[in-house]
Amino acid sequence: MGINWHDFFIVGNPLILGSQIAIVLTMVGIVAGITYLKKWKWLWREWLTTVDHKRIGIMYILSGVLMFFRGGVDGLLMKAQTSRPEMKFLDAQHYNEIFTTHGVIMILFAAMPLLIGLMNVVVPLQIGARDVAFPQLNALSFWLFFSGAMLFNISFVVGGSPDAGWTAYFPLAGKEFTPGIGNNYYAVALQIAGIGTLMTGINFIVTVLKMRTKGMTLMRMPMFTWTSFIASVIIVASFPIFTVALALMTFDRIFGTHFFTISGGGMDMMWANLFWLWGHPEVYIVVLPAFGMFSEVISTFSRKRLFGYNSMVFSIVGIAFLSMLVWVHHFFTMGAGPGVNSVFSITTMMIAIPTGVKMFNWLFTMRKGRIELTTAMLWALAFIPCFVIGGVTGVMLAMGAADYQYHNTLFLVAHFHYVLIPGVVFAVFAGLYYWWPKMFGHMLNEKIGKIHFWFFTIGFNLTFMPMFFLGLDGAVRRSYTYSAESGYAPLFLLSTIGAVILAIGFGALCYNIYWSARYADRNISNDPWDARTLEWATASPVQFYNFAKLPEVKSIDAFWYMKKHNEGLTLKDEEVEEIHMPSNSGLPFYMGVIFGITGFLLVFEWKLAALVATVGILAGLIIRSFDYNDGFHVHKDEIKKTEKAWRSVNKGVNNHVS
């Protein structure tokens, strides 16, 4: 199998060359840095082998931020290319690769890990558990996700990026029209990451069902836990479909089958059908936990419990149910009969009903409250109007006949950015500002946070608002250029300016992370926001066993109740018992590596080598089967020491930030 090295490493493009050099330099820098600081052992013991849900969450979040950066750069490149008509910055092929990777990375490798990361950190704490149900599986989920993300990301320097859009519609994505291996990356990397996500879903369902502390009934769970739970249910319901779709794509591309090809009786629209059977629920997988975060933040900073808790729960269950029944609205224009389009128009519009209920419940949570405009709250506030724009345009798109004029135009692009950026990115930012002290023991700077907020929200609106009008004027998505006569130029330019402002906002976040890590006050309380749920009942940052004594829950907003009734806030020495914790394991990391290697070989269609590598996967499974490590016990003295340390500090800190 002769490799043409000239093709293997993508060369000849100054942008890619620049990033290749940057990647090599960064990697050398990281390796040198760790070696210099003698941190290899620490890295291995504390992070690479960890099964602690908080650390895994943090690793998810860091990779998510990194991927958000990569996807953001893709977005900026696209905006640069379309800033003026007939622009010559990128050629068509390069543009196609970039919007493909932008979409895939933002949805699967940025939004998902950021949300799953926060779920990991927060959900076990909110239900008063010591870890998730299957800690080692949790680590495996992360390493599979990470392996998939890395595999996908090397595509633009090694072998070529996928270039058929994030939806990878057949027959374009098939071998008949895209013989390059770029789309193999899509099929294989997403498969690996998807398996990880599926396991996360199972893990969190069991965690929520089985590991709630005493008194934490389902209808007392914090809203973020509820939404994470329902999102996990949707993951388990929809990711198997994606697994199958990607496997069939792999078969078509690498083994020459005829599922979606135009020859041999294949059916191209079947891919679109399967893709959206997964793809639509996927939107709710990312949006629901975000809704949960907004619920927590709005409730905390309005100093009121959530308005209409029960109807909130019913509406998320309703959204989850409907989410599986609307997928065809992504291809109303396929030419299916009017019966099909009518049914799916109706089911789609019905989703507006529970979403509307949530919207009003949030508004009425704030009513009669005392609204504190912390950075986290600002994100939640900005979410409401922006998301309403996304929502109403969503209803417009749901109307089958009207969609014939919106479909595949920039109107659609504007709509889903108005749903996903306020609905997910704002939420993640709110969540990060809100829970940062829980993860790291210091706050993010509020002043820089506000700069971040204003640049980002203004930039966001400026970027995507013009796209509604461009779309209605006939501008289509995924087109790398447009003519001067079209008259689109001013709005496209405005959009590019918005993107730059948005990028500055993201830069402010990165600076904030750096600044706060270096200079922020470490002397903070376990409950800096005067919050309501259980995660604030324990130390910041949270000690590895979470709770010295598992709290007992007597009401919704359990920690608020504890504070009001002064119950369970102190810990007596005799209450301390030994705690059983799971041991670290290198196996998940190994599995991530071996999956990555197997995937890489498969991408390059070296089937025999890939088959050999699967032996490595099987070996990992066998080792796991014979692994009888039952964890370890934390001694009473150690617990007492840890607890005293943070409980005494708290007496001296200023409890209130804003």
Binding site: M349, G356, P385
Partner: protein
């Protein structure tokens, strides 16, 4: 601080204000019954959406302003309230009513668009077969026996039944001034009725991404008076070269073309809309940078088209 808090809703409000003032945008400037029907639906939905936006934004602004934390209300303790069944029923019921109000006209319009538009039922529709290929549009007039590339002339005031199919990748056929879009797929035929009220020129294009040449996949629709249309057909039949199978295979290669006109149609030997039609693919011509994977030869449908290496994308 609080002034800034208002900037967001104001900014988000902008589109609504702009929308009401925009009549020039192509979707809001219909030139045929199909586009007009859709616009009617869009306008109907805009009214409701505007109401939703005004109510929510108003409520949002009011609540955030009234209940913001200030130095004056430091000691204010928000009340414990669990919800309100009455309110919750109201804001469940109103969206349901809105959805119903939107559903009925939507379903009506969906069914309406499948038929010859109202007001044109007595006119005999003409049929035009649309075949999309990488990266061009091929129009066949089976009744007239002519074929055009990248432009299509239609008689104004006559409903046109477009039969859509594709020779390869999937495209979407869209003439926004005349009506909504529909996909063109290989081995599948979809139909779309479009009618131009008056003579005029309209831009049509592909909206479904299909590779390197996608950005330039545009065509023009020219609606002529019936007399002019007949005249044009006659001229074409007199002057245009005959379409041969060889020439047609040439057309299907991934290239950009200008306008072309032929007599005869390719329907004589292939209709890509038929389930068992021949497959035309040229994977060799789609190679771009990066490592190339194995291409699977399809034994039965080998098209003998891979002899020359034309088809370079010349758009960039």
């Amino acid at each position: 601080m609080f002034k800034k808090g208002y900037l967001i809703p104001l900014l988000a409000f902008l589109p609504v204000l702009l929308l009401s003032g925009c009549n020039k945008m192509v979707v809001f400037d219909p030139k045929g019954p199909a586009a007009r029907d859709i616009l009617g639906l869009i306008n109907w939905s805009l009214v409701f959406m505007l109401i939703v936006v005004v109510v929510v934004f108003g409520l949002f602004g009011y609540i955030v302003w009234k209940y913001r934390a200030t130095s004056k209300n430091k000691d204010y303790v928000p009340p414990e309230e669990h919800g309100s069944t009455k309110l919750e029923i109201i804001w469940t019921a109103i969206p349901i009513l809105i959805v119903i109000a939107l559903t009925i006209p939507t379903v009506n319009t969906i069914y309406k668009l499948e038929k010859v538009p109202a007001g044109y039922e007595d006119k005999k529709p003409i049929t035009i077969n649309v075949t999309s290929a990488d990266w061009k549009w091929i129009f066949s007039y089976p009744e007239q026996g002519i074929e055009t590339v990248n432009y299509v002339n239609i008689p104004a005031g006559t409903p046109v039944k477009f039969k859509l199919t594709s020779a390869g990748t999937m495209q979407s056929f869209w003439v926004p001034a005349l009506g909504g879009q529909k996909y063109t797929m290989n081995k599948m035929e979809t139909q779309l009725y479009l009618t131009a009220d008056n003579p005029g020129e309209f831009l049509g294009r592909n909206t479904n991404f299909n590779g390197k040449g996608y950005a330039d996949m545009e065509f023009t629709v020219e609606a002529k008076s019936s007399k002019d249309f007949e005249k044009w057909v006659k001229e074409v039949k007199a002057n245009a070269p005959k379409l041969t199978e060889k020439k047609y295979n040439e057309l299907l290669k991934p290239t950009h073309l200008g306008r072309e006109t032929f007599t005869g149609t390719h329907l004589a030997w292939v209709d890509h809309g038929k389930m068992n039609s021949k497959t035309y693919t040229n994977p060799e011509l789609y190679k771009v940078h990066g490592v190339q994977g194995k291409i699977f030869k399809d034994e039965e449908n080998n098209t003998e088209m891979n002899d020359s290496n034309g088809g370079e994308h010349n758009g960039n």
